[in-house]
């Protein structure tokens, strides 16, 4: 078994172990990484930042357990941003599975803010500052229905209250009272918001997506249909950076903490591809 043979037949289990180690070490000994913010994330941040106080922001939580680690940091970041700017927030999901994660993200951020707030005005009150609309089936039915009347689609909210009794819903009839919708999704659901809600009602749409579907989104970002785009853990880390530098919100940077592990994992995978190809070409020349 000379070196080349050993090089080309590394056991799969060893590769798994190497990857796990390479990820765990930077988690145990964290080294903060300087994040450089690129245009697509900055555009989304500015779009959220410039929402007028008489308009609302809809956050569409569409990530599920399978993609929670990657997209949840974006959800937490946008929620912290909106509540810091006292922007009115509506939260909803088009599928059932994301509901639980939308609720846990909301509970976490609202809990954080209300724990620090002293008086009523600067704490986040359900029904006044935000409403958790929950879920209605039919996918296109809520997307199109909210263009005419949100309370007609979501007659009851997640908790079962009648939505037309909530103060925030009285001033947020439909997309005309919504300045931006940010869709945090695992598949190409944000493209449906553009194809159906933006085309018919002129709704401004931003997106935060898993890196897996990055390729599908850039054509719609380049054509201006998306007013901003966060992609994968890096996108979340960039938004967290903007929260810190622009609004000095210094909460735990869930996305930022993973960047050194991602760096070492990427280097490992690149190395594996190189080794694999070196072995492959040497063997091919021998044959």
């Amino acid at each position: 078994m000379n070196f080349i043979d050993r090089l080309t037949t590394i056991n799969r289990k060893i590769i798994y172990l190497v990857l796990a180690i390479v990820i765990v070490i930077p988690l145990i000994f964290p080294s903060p990484q300087k994040v450089r913010v690129m245009a697509p994330v900055e555009k989304l941040f500015n779009a959220v930042d410039t929402i007028h106080e008489d308009k609302a922001l809809i956050i569409n939580f569409e990530y599920d357990p399978q993609s929670q680690p990657e997209v949840e940091p974006m959800g937490l970041a946008v929620l912290r941003h909106a509540f810091k700017r006292r922007i009115k927030v509506l939260v909803m999901s088009l599928y059932v599975q994301p509901l639980g994660l939308a609720k846990s993200a909301l509970d976490q951020v609202v809990g954080e803010i209300n724990a620090e707030s002293k008086s009523n005005p600067d704490s986040i009150i359900y029904g006044r500052d935000f409403v958790f609309l929950g879920w209605q089936p039919g996918f296109y039915i809520p997307i199109l229905g909210m263009g005419e009347s949100i309370t007609n689609v979501y007659k009851t909210d997640y908790y079962g209250n009648k939505t037309d009794t909530l103060t925030l819903m009285k001033q947020t009839k439909n997309y005309n009272n919504v300045e931006l919708l940010v869709s945090l999704a695992v598949s190409d659901i944000p493209i449906y918001w553009v194809a159906y809600a933006q085309n018919r009602f002129g709704l401004q749409v931003g997106a935060g997506v898993t890196a897996v579907s990055a390729g599908d989104f850039y054509p719609y970002y380049q054509s201006g249909q998306f007013t901003g785009l966060m992609v994968g853990m890096k996108g979340g880390a960039e938004y967290e950076e903007l929260l810190a530098t622009r609004l000095n919100i210094h909460k735990r940077r869930k996305a930022g903490e993973t960047l050194s592990s991602i760096t070492f994992a990427h280097l490992t995978i690149i190395l594996l591809i190189v080794i694999g190809n070196v072995g492959f070409f040497i063997k091919r020349r021998k044959r």
Binding site: V212, S213, G215, D216
Partner: protein
């Protein structure tokens, strides 16, 4: 201080050019109010909007900050409304003249969507022309997809080596286009397998697709005139859970050592597991899918990959099925239209001042 003194004596300039009109292309109930900003706009607090039904008694209906020169007012259709705007600075007000009356109404056609209507009619009629043409037996030419040659060579290689051929139709149901395309190609591969007396292994994820595939392979053996050689065990259903299917197919690759693997259909993340084991056994691998997220991995792990529409074209080429052929020919013409729109639109946009982009907003 001096500024306030001046204001008190001279007063502020009123907004001018007040105009009210029914909002176009909408369901009615909205009047748009526009005006030229007051020359003192910079120091103003904002503008108040007044409305009246009879041009006498006005009531305030809106307020906007300075620098804004229009507002949308919700109104009742069919009623006349007069408007005027006041520039506001603390308690000082400067009224504009009264606008001509306006009435909101609903429209039956949204003119901003005429480009979509036009595109729908043109592209739709072209596609239908070819689909109906193909059904009437019109001969339609499609080039031989390079991938089909790769398929023939791969089947030939396996039969020379006397090793089996593995074929998987992906993880989607019978109603998905790429599954149907994969079944068409399976029929072609099965004919070659039957004529060369090679061994086919066809494990399935979806029970309905399994039943259809079994008929196709059996039919292939009949058309080649060797109905008795059809092996019942070559087409079978394994499991309907994603990773269990991938693990089972890996097991077959390692045990049976097929010389050629076909991964054609719709795949999810498990395609990586299957393609990896196939590559490590040294088999020739041909993949074909319209699952865009999986294509990058299949391109690097397989010897040949049919990308998206190439899979549809390959299945149309093989099956000569009128609906498929007609659709692909119609779509080809659609691509010609898109190409020419891009070229002509760009030329117009560059040379003339013609607002080309408005057609594509």
């Amino acid at each position: 201080m001096l500024l306030n003194f001046l204001l008190l004596t001279v007063g502020i300039a009123p907004p001018t050019g007040v105009r009210a009109y029914d909002a176009p292309d909408d369901g009615g109930g909205v009047i748009i109010m526009e005006w030229q900003l007051s020359s003192d706009d910079a120091i103003l607090d904002g503008y108040e909007i007044y409305r009246s039904g009879n041009a006498q008694d006005f009531e305030k209906v809106g307020y906007v900050g300075k620098g804004t020169n229009s507002i949308e007012d919700e109104t009742e259709d069919g009623k006349k409304y007069y408007y005027k705007v006041t520039a506001l600075k603390d308690t000082l007000r400067a009224y504009s003249e009264i606008s001509l009356p306006a009435m909101s109404s609903a429209q039956w056609i949204n003119r901003t969507k005429l480009n979509v209507l036009l595109a729908m009619l043109i592209l739709g009629s072209i596609i239908l022309y070819f689909v109906f043409g193909a059904r009437k037996g019109k001969q339609l030419f499609i080039r031989k997809i390079a991938g089909l040659q790769a398929i023939d060579d791969a089947v030939g290689r396996a039969t020379e080596m006397g090793k089996p051929i593995l074929y998987t139709t992906g993880l989607e149901s019978i109603s998905v286009i790429s599954t149907i395309a994969s079944l068409n190609i399976l029929g072609e591969v099965a004919k070659k397998v039957a004529s060369y007396n090679a061994k086919l292994i066809n494990p399935h994820f979806d029970p309905i697709v399994y039943t259809v595939a079994r008929e196709i392979v059996k039919e292939a053996y009949n058309t080649v005139g060797r109905p008795d050689a059809f092996d019942e065990g070559s087409v079978y259903f394994i499991t309907d859970t994603q990773f269990a299917y991938a693990a089972a197919v890996d097991g077959i690759m390692v045990r049976e050592k097929p010389a050629t693997n076909f991964l054609i259909g719709y795949f999810y993340a498990e395609s990586l597991i299957i393609a990896e084991t196939g590559a490590s056994t040294g088999a020739i691998q041909i993949s074909g899918t319209d699952a865009i997220p999986q294509l990058p991995f299949l391109v690097t792990a397989c010897d040949y990959t049919l990308i998206g529409e190439e899979l549809y074209a390959a299945s149309a080429y093989i099956s000569r099925e009128p609906l498929l052929l007609g659709a692909i020919k119609g779509e080809d013409i659609g691509k010609l239209i898109i190409g020419s729109l891009l070229i002509i639109g760009s030329i117009l946009g560059l040379i003339t001042k013609f607002p080309v982009l408005n057609f594509f907003k």
